[in-house]
Symmetry: C2
Subunit: 109 residues, 2 copies
DNA sequence: AATTAATATCGTAATATTGCAATATAAAAT
DNA sequence: ATTTTATATTGCAATATTACGATATTAATT
């Protein structure tokens, strides 16, 4: 099939998994780290930095924008991308909330 | 293409993205949360709980095992799955290391 | 030994993702 | 107005993922 059956999970589970899925690509991790290091960047910077086609980079940026973790603002003929700090911090909280669920000492393993 | 060009990223980026990718499916999030709540479980519990076919659950468990976040031990004719606490905590640290990268105040957005 | 029970693996169909060339769009420079 | 520059979108081919039925496999039960 290839289709994920989202109707059998909670909204929280679906949303959280979506976040993780978007972040789960090395190009998108590399893009985020580049933006963090450079403070901001334009699409072409990433094309040179990562060696992917411009169309490919643009697509990855679109996915990152879709979860709100980056923001792009038009500056003349280019678009300046930067981290959306609020969302970034919110994600960190969500991850910690997930990982802070107490792991009880297992009896079988 | 469909193939991810891993050779243009660092090992850290590829590894971290792989983790996120495995966690980026609602069934696998639901499985982890179920194991946490129940402390441990067997495959059939999850089949009933999630309403996916046994083969599908088994496949998801395999992927979770592949990143080490769960462990399965044979108990008679069933397999008892539980969280691997060390790996769980290690992942949390990795996520925090990633998110703690200082986000400089952006000048463009 | 045959049956039952629990899980894993294989094969396959349906769908999703990745990556890129080609093209479109939009703003600045000439 | 035309060209240049930067980005977005579209269409497509290759590959990956998801889900499941059918079929092992393995251990306990009868």
């Amino acid at each position: 099939m290839g289709i994920t059956k989202t109707d059998m999970y909670t909204d929280d589970q679906n949303k959280f998994a979506s976040l993780l899925k978007v972040l789960g690509h090395p190009a998108r991790i590399a893009i985020l780290q580049y933006i963090i290091n450079q403070e901001k960047c334009i699409c072409n910077d990433l094309v040179e930095e990562l060696g992917l086609a411009q169309a490919t980079i643009s697509q990855h940026l679109k996915e990152l924008k879709s979860i709100g973790i980056i923001q792009g603002s038009i500056e003349g003929k280019s678009v300046c991308y930067c981290i959306e700090e609020k969302v970034w911090n919110q994600f960190q909280e969500e991850f910690n909330a997930f990982f802070n669920q107490a792991v009880k000492v297992n009896q079988c393993c």
